[in-house]
């Protein structure tokens, strides 16, 4: 993981690509082994090799090929992205946030409450407000164990697990009493206002017909363009032609303004004319873009900022962090808060974009929080690696039903495969042994052959 980049050259890009391939090889091998071993287990339990084949064909068909299969895989991947970013963020600061599930619930209930509390706000205000509230809820839930660790040294694993149970029961109480929709026969919260919903892809053209919504989207696009242009301005080739800081500023602001204005003017008519998501039952929602943005944001925060530098130093070597004058307690609380906030947003996406009632039902079975630990490990805590890893887990979750239907193999086999992936990722030594990958000399030197005490 690098926090700074050298001046890009051809060899540099080559090195980066090689490094990426190297980073990818381990997870890919782990996935491969997991599926192979999964097939063996299916064969043994069902008594025929063909069952495994049928099961995997069903899995692939369910995850990608059948109507809305791909969309549903993405729908499942969205909360996974947020939740596993939350876990990975903790990892980077040396913290194991097992409380993502609880923070997810808190985020969900906050989103449901704030989403239903206002009925006449425009989306441009309401949607950011709901998401910020969910993030805040999750952040508070994460900050409590963080604070306890910073102040007393109480281990975050134990406290986050306990906070999970508090969260479950608290949400149960809120849903069935305070926030309960008295009209509906099901125990669930009041439906959130349409302005708080995460738009389904199919509804985007209709939503954009409202100029305020179009303005909202244009602002977000301008913001994204601004950051993109700023990064671009730092690359060697472009920064050479922008020889003064002023021209660099003009370049970035210009690009941001241009893309904002263009999307405000062009997006509504364009989406009305050509839009690939016409299927009304397609549940894919714009949380997808939010998830992508969150991954990029986390990458930036961790690798390009002083905050990230501090958190990573605390995670990699707390003694050195203390030596360098970094406030460890503050870093821990901050890391847990950001982690909790991401988990909270994961909960919000489920309520605002996926649940059919656009509310939080009492029986809101998620499990995203725990799967996300596996995803974060699979991605080795890398913010951008989490995107493909989440998609894989989303696809597995989504393809499981058709797999069961086709082959009669229980869909719990998916959990088994996930567990195997995790096992192979968590035990690199096994994979190395199986594939005879060469151990790097640095690792040989570091491997504690013998440990002692004294001095």
């Amino acid at each position: 993981m690098s926090s700074t980049t050298t001046t890009p050259t051809r060899t540099h890009y080559r090195a980066v690509i090689l490094k990426m391939l190297d980073a990818l090889s381990m997870p890919l091998v782990a996935i491969l082994f997991a599926f192979a071993l999964g097939a063996v287990i299916i064969t043994i339990t069902s008594g025929s090799l063909s069952a495994a084949l049928v099961a995997y064909v069903g899995l692939i068909e369910g995850a990608f090929i059948k109507t809305r299969g791909m969309s549903e895989s993405l729908v499942a991947a969205i909360p996974y992205v947020f939740a596993s970013l939350a876990v990975a963020f903790g990892f980077k600061a040396g913290l194991f946030n097992v409380g993502v599930e609880g923070q997810f619930y808190i985020g969900a209930v906050t989103a449901a409450a704030v989403g239903a509390a206002f009925s006449d706000l425009p989306a441009i205000i309401h949607l950011p407000l709901v998401i910020a509230a969910a993030a805040l809820g999750g952040a508070v839930w994460g900050a409590i164990p963080g604070f306890l660790k910073a102040k007393t040294g109480a281990h975050e694993v134990i406290n986050t697990i306990m906070m999970n149970y508090v969260a479950y029961r608290l949400v149960e109480y809120l849903v069935s009493n305070v926030l309960r929709d008295r009209v509906s026969s099901a125990v669930q919260t009041i439906r959130v206002a349409p302005s708080a919903e995460l738009w389904s892809m199919a509804s985007v053209p209709d939503r954009l017909a409202d100029p305020l919504n179009a303005l909202f989207v244009a602002l977000l696009i301008a913001l994204a363009a601004f950051f993109f242009a700023r990064t671009l301005a730092k690359t060697a080739r472009i920064s050479a032609s922008l020889n003064t800081p002023r021209s660099a500023r003009l370049f970035t602001v210009g690009i941001a303004l241009a893309s904002g204005v263009l999307s405000f003017l062009l997006l509504p008519p364009l989406t009305r004319a050509l839009w690939i998501w016409t299927d009304k039952f397609d549940r894919l929602h714009i949380g997808l873009f939010l998830a992508l943005a969150a991954a990029v944001f986390m990458y930036w925060l961790l690798n390009k900022t002083t905050i990230g530098f501090e958190l990573r130093t605390v995670g990699a070597n707390p003694s050195a962090a203390q030596y360098a004058g970094i406030n460890i307690g503050r870093s821990i609380v901050l890391a847990m808060s950001v982690s909790g906030a991401l988990a909270g947003i994961a909960g919000a996406t489920e309520v605002l974009g996926v649940s059919t009632c656009r509310c939080l039902p009492l029986f809101f079975s998620a499990g995203y929080g725990f799967d996300s630990i596996a995803i974060a490990l699979l991605a080795r805590g890398d913010a951008l690696g989490i995107l493909p890893a989440s998609f894989l887990f989303g696809a597995l979750r989504n393809g499981a039903d058709l797999m069961e239907l086709r082959s009669g193999v229980s869909k719990h086999v998916i959990s088994l495969i996930q567990a195997l992936v995790l096992l192979f990722v968590a035990a690199p030594a096994i994979v190395r042994y199986l594939t005879r990958q060469k151990v790097k000399p640095a690792e040989v030197a570091e491997a504690p052959l013998t440990r002692g005490w004294g001095r």
Binding site: Y323, G325, A445, W453, G454
Partner: protein, 514 residues
């Protein structure tokens, strides 16, 4: 003449490194054979091969003229090769006897009441330890608990452990690093008595003086190759250093007379406790002036670590006052201390000094990453960090493939250079260096010593804490000796002698033990 051990053409490759290249080594019966070499020269690899931790890619090992293979440490012990590691392999809460028989417990079964339940036979083991201890003059009480023993005694327990397992050949890996000069002399006596009784010893050290004190022959390694073997009688320090480094080495640092200026660091009646709330620094007062080096001599573990931690804000003192340039920094956090102009080269470079999993560049800005020009707002300017790293890598001759290389993969000497470069690059008023050259090769030591003296000549106040008397004697202008948390005496470096300091380090003042 029979060789107790002979290694022929030992070659060991690690990916990208030829750690041992056709190495020839022999050990005569009853000989003390010194092994000298810089870090990374291949000494440790060779010893690990002899101790069965690695298998050589090529070459042959003969024990008593018989070709053999050593497959594991267990096998090495079975074949009569013992090793005393630099870090002791003892279990602190157990007794000496228990530590020694660990893994080789002999049992007897009492059939009267308990049937086949076996009972640990401590008594005969203790008797044997007593006997060995007497035979070699080791002075070990088998019933003492290891954690209560001083470091020197723990080391002797390690030696008994090897002897108890009938080690014929004993490998001692930097055994004097943790000892006072007097304790080291005692150890040399023990080594000589073992050699006389027919044991063969391999003695690894980087202190040239010790080679002359105790060895019969010295072998020097460099870059994985055996450079040569000489008898100390026919060699000089300069010659051995040159064999080790491959070029002429200046062992004595040239420095001009000190021109001390105003007081930079003032410490008054400082008391510091360790994590177990034992007082480690007890009523210590001293000062360091601009342009002078105050050396703090003493055996490790006499409160130096806690003293330095208290001065740099890493540990809160219980009483007393620390001021830097008239600012009271007694209870200030580390960052505030750093910002007053204090630089700190910590004792443990892996624990405090570096983040091993970070690249060189990031480690070079570890204390300044948040300041201009490296940070603008909360964003880190990668280009500036890179520029700084390039500059320091050149200026301090840090040997690294690139500034993006992880610091953990550099050699110890280059790691230490990274720390020294980082700490000296700031406008520093006070430089605190704790064991700056521990475990480094001669070339790096020379380089770091020169930098410390240069800092002094620029008018920086330097506090040098070191357990190496040679280092203190060659660098310091004044020498304070620390013993059990107190400063026993502060001497002028020109007037101080090795013997005088050695006695003070052992707690002897005016002929009496304090």
């Amino acid at each position: 003449m029979t060789f107790a051990l002979e290694a022929n053409g030992i070659t060991k490759k690690f990916p990208g490194v030829l750690a041992n290249d056709n190495v020839q080594f022999d050990l005569q019966r009853g000989e003390i054979h010194g092994l000298l070499g810089e870090n990374g020269a291949g000494k440790t690899t060779l010893m690990n091969i002899l101790y069965g931790l690695y298998q050589p890619d090529a070459g042959e090992i003969f024990l008593n003229a018989q070709s053999t293979q050593i497959t594991s440490p267990h096998d090495a012990i079975a074949q009569g090769i013992g090793m005393v590691h630099q870090h002791f392999m003892l279990v602190p809460p157990l007794t000496v006897t228990e530590n020694i028989i660990l893994g080789q417990e002999s049992l007897y079964s009492s059939t009267k009441f308990l049937g086949r339940l076996a009972v640990l036979d401590r008594k005969s083991a203790a008797a044997r330890i007593r006997e060995l201890s007497h035979q070699y003059g080791l002075d070990i009480d088998p019933d003492a608990t290891v954690k209560d023993l001083p470091v020197g005694a723990q080391q002797r327990v390690e030696i008994v452990k090897a002897l108890y397992r009938d080690a014929d050949i004993l490998i001692l890996d930097e055994p004097t690093a943790v000892l006072t000069p007097q304790e080291a002399d005692d150890l040399f006596g023990i080594m000589k008595s073992m050699a006389q009784q027919g044991h063969s010893l391999i003695f690894i050290t980087h202190k040239l003086r010790e080679m002359f004190a105790v060895t019969d022959r010295v072998s020097v390694m460099r870059n994985g190759k055996m450079v040569g073997t000489v008898a100390p009688k026919e060699a000089t320090s300069e010659m051995l250093a040159e064999m080790m480094v491959g070029r002429k080495v200046i062992l004595q640092i040239d420095k001009s007379a000190a021109h001390p200026g105003g007081t930079i660091l003032q410490v008054e009646n400082l008391r510091v406790e360790d994590d177990r709330r034992t007082a480690m620094v007890d009523e210590v007062s001293f000062h360091v002036r601009a342009g002078e080096i105050l050396g703090i001599a003493g055996v490790q573990g006499n409160g130096q670590r806690e003293l330095v931690e208290a001065l740099t804000g890493l540990r809160a003192p219980v009483a007393g006052k620390v001021s830097v340039l008239e600012h009271d920094v007694t209870h200030k956090p580390p960052r505030a201390v750093i910002e007053y102009g204090v630089a700190h080269v910590p004792e443990d470079r892996h624990k405090h000094g570096l983040v091993l999993t970070f690249p060189v560049a990031d480690n070079l800005v570890l204390c300044t990453y948040y300041q201009s020009p490296f940070a603008r707002g909360i964003e880190i300017d990668a280009a500036q960090v890179e520029r700084e790293a390039e500059k320091l890598v050149n200026e301090f001759d840090i040997r690294t493939p690139s500034t993006r290389t992880l610091v953990g993969s550099l050699s110890g000497g280059n790691q230490q250079k990274v720390i020294v470069a980082r700490e000296l690059d700031r406008p520093v008023k006070l430089l605190i260096v704790n064991q700056p050259t521990r475990g480094l090769d001669v070339g790096s030591i020379e380089f770091i010593h020169r930098r410390i003296v240069e800092a002094r000549e620029r008018g920086t106040a330097v506090l040098l804490v070191s357990a190496e008397l040679d280092e203190i004697l060659s660098l310091a202008d004044r020498i304070a000796v620390m013993y059990k948390g107190r400063i026993l005496e502060t001497l002028d470096a020109k007037a101080a002698t090795r013997e005088q300091l050695g006695l003070l380090m052992a707690g002897v003042v005016g002929g009496k033990h304090v």
